[in-house]
Point group: C2
Chain length 430, copies 2
């Protein structure tokens, strides 16, 4: 990791630069797959599944029997763990249900706001070496609490046409309504347009490689929303003398093992930690199964010593971290002055892994500084707010003159007329 | 308007089709302006302001003196109307403040969610014949309630380099922090990248012509969020025998006058209304100042008679209207079964104009069927949700085994290790 001691503020932008990727090469591929899926539906899905996943399939839907069999293949301990995580995630997201907002500021002018579920949502779960069943919990549980009627999940099959049993177990536990063996760009395109087998959805959630990332962005050109733009995962740890170097190193490594483009930032106001954490990183990294990925990620990563808490808070806000571990004595100061982050982990016993799996918070979070303008996935991501208003004759009489004046000043006669015609009736009739 | 009586369900998609626009011709222009603003900043803004707005400016910021002068030029009646609208909008958006969500489902595992304002937001207000000061109220008031530090507004100058006094009055009343005489693509690009004179913002709000629409979409390729994708404005009126044809016609026209591509749908379960409303439309349209625009919009528009309330609700949900006027005796049935709409106006005394200006609800709403997956602008559009977790030793001990099992099953050793290292310490130490 690169070490910076008391860098001046004008250098921060450079130090905090994220690794960037250009996706321009991928756009033509994505555009082609979308065109083909739109034109040829399931036949095109078969074609790409053979090409990219190496398996020939004509039916993509996972059968009830496959789901039942999966249960036998997941150890009872892992099933228990998944159920405990589900309970935690459900409790936290259920608490996010907001009551109807209702206002009658002027008599007879009643305005309210209610939320309704997005009817059809899609979830993408990547394949590859590790089955990311934890992400199913993070997306299907709030979708179910929100009341989404259709919860579609796509995930790539392996070469034998199967899906990992832990994926099937988690999906059936969390209320996924339809599960398809479709991966990559073709999965995103299928959920965007709909095919005979795959329903069209209104919003697509979930992580993925660069192809899936570009495909999700591409889907927004059609009438589909996405959870948020994606970027490589990242962690910032802020620590003082109350933190432990062993814990910090383990947390930095848990982020670094995600991929060679993961970014890890360590900020401290206690200078000796820089050396201690460096030593621990070397020792702990050496015994990891994914040590090559982790060391590669650490090369892009930074350790920053800053003299004061004011400087530290200012730098952290400038970075707007996806994951933010805070292990300091003056916790309240740091929390009060925080302006942007995805999820915050506080104290010595809150590793990022806790939130990744089981504390209850969501792990689908804004990377790449997007915490400045996007929230992580939460219950509201599956709901739309609708506003309502009901005016009585008296209510319209109270506001009518203002509306007429404003509409006239904006040059919108018919807007004014819609009020005048009613006010005239009320004058004549009353 | 085109009339359909009891169309069968398979025909609905065709009937409800929105007028579509292709923006592919505009993209190269937008791309060029963005490149030029990014490279040349304020100099490029001057160039485009001269080219598109016909005025030579080197300083874009509106001065305090210009704002003070504006007050003299807005009639006291209009000032009063704007202030009444502000009070209503502020009351409704202030009521949307949500308390901190806090959960401790397992002892020692405390999770909470708090909202923080997006620090810097941008508002675009179109120029042209009518000064859309009402949109300033809709965007700046919630931004101020949310606590956004920087509220930047861009609007094109007229040929003398001035801004309409009602725009300046509304902006200064609602807490806009910086106001610039910049229009079109160059305004969106300036707020996306920042220049010497114009601050970079994190999220851009507001309506505009097709150039601004494409520019906002283009801005999302950089690290800027936007309120929502745009499309032509639209209204659906649902009425039965309790409604009045004169009011319905006035509401349909208030939508139709927005532009020739505005769409208006009238649905009724009471057949005689079709004829009555048609007559009223002719009579009322004839005397409007914008009658040519309105008649053009009516050509794209539809009147649909349906036998049952079940069919009506189903068609309305399929359309997902931006504005939805509901004037029926069985109000509760229609509201309970509504799945998607932007803003709903209920009863004979709730014309769309009420919500456009002064009832308190927001008028920046999802068009084009986007109500299926996007909310209209509300207080939350200016806030980010951040999740927090703080585990005690006991909390981590309760969840630790589940996290270790799940991390191991996903093949993420370092994630597991971050927990194991802490649990080992606790076992040894405790």
């Amino acid at each position: 990791m690169n070490v910076y001691k008391n860098p001046i503020k004008t250098e921060w932008e450079d130090i905090l630069k994220r690794p960037t990727a250009s996706y321009q090469d991928i756009e033509p591929i994505v555009s082609d797959v979308f065109k083909n899926i739109k034109a040829n539906g399931d036949v095109a899905i078969s074609h790409y599944t053979e090409k990219f996943d190496g398996v020939s399939l004509n039916e993509f839907k996972v059968s009830v029997k496959e789901i039942e069999n999966a249960k036998q293949l997941v150890s009872p301990e892992l099933q228990q763990a998944i159920i405990q995580a589900k309970d935690q995630i459900a409790a936290f997201h259920r608490a996010q249900v907001t009551p109807k907002v209702s206002v009658e500021n002027i008599e007879g002018v009643h305005c309210w706001q209610e939320k309704r579920p997005i009817e059809k949502v899609g979830i993408y779960i990547p394949g590859g070496s590790a089955p990311l069943f934890s992400t199913i919990l993070m997306l299907a549980i709030p979708a179910q609490i929100a009341g989404c009627k259709e919860i579609v999940l796509c995930t790539p099959p392996d070469k034998s046409g199967a899906i990992h049993p832990a994926i099937l177990f988690a999906a059936s536990l969390c209320g996924v309504t339809k599960l398809f063996k479709i991966g990559g760009i073709q999965a995103i395109a299928a959920m965007t347009f709909g095919t005979v087998q795959v329903p069209k959805v209104y919003k697509i959630f979930g992580p993925g490689n660069q192809y899936v990332t570009v495909a999700k962005q591409w889907a927004t050109r059609y009438d589909v929303a996405i959870d948020m733009p994606a970027g490589p995962s990242e962690l910032l740890v802020m620590a003082d003398q109350t933190a432990k170097a062993t814990y910090i190193a383990s947390d930095l490594l848990s982020q670094a093992e995600h991929g060679p483009d993961s970014q890890v930032i360590f900020v401290t106001t206690y200078e000796p930690l820089i050396e201690e954490v460096s030593q621990e990183l070397l020792a702990q990294c050496a015994v990891l199964s994914r040590k090559e990925i982790a060391s590669k990620a650490l090369e892009n990563s930074k350790m920053i010593f800053l003299e004061t808490k004011e400087a530290a808070v200012s730098l952290i806000n400038q970075y707007a971290p996806e994951h933010y571990i805070l292990c300091v004595s003056e916790e309240a100061y740091y929390l009060d002055h925080l302006s942007a982050a995805g999820s915050v982990f506080i104290g010595n016993y809150s590793p990022e892994s806790a939130g990744d799996y089981a504390s209850g918070t969501n792990h689908t979070l804004p990377t790449n500084g997007y915490a400045r303008q996007y929230s992580g996935v939460n219950l509201d991501a599956f709901l739309n707010s609708i506003s309502f208003q009901k005016l009585t004759a008296k209510g319209l009489q109270s506001l009518g003159k203002s509306i007429e004046l404003m509409a006239a000043a904006e040059g919108l006669d018919a807007h004014k007329n819609a009020v005048s015609i009613r006010l005239n009736d009320l004058r004549d009739g009353a």
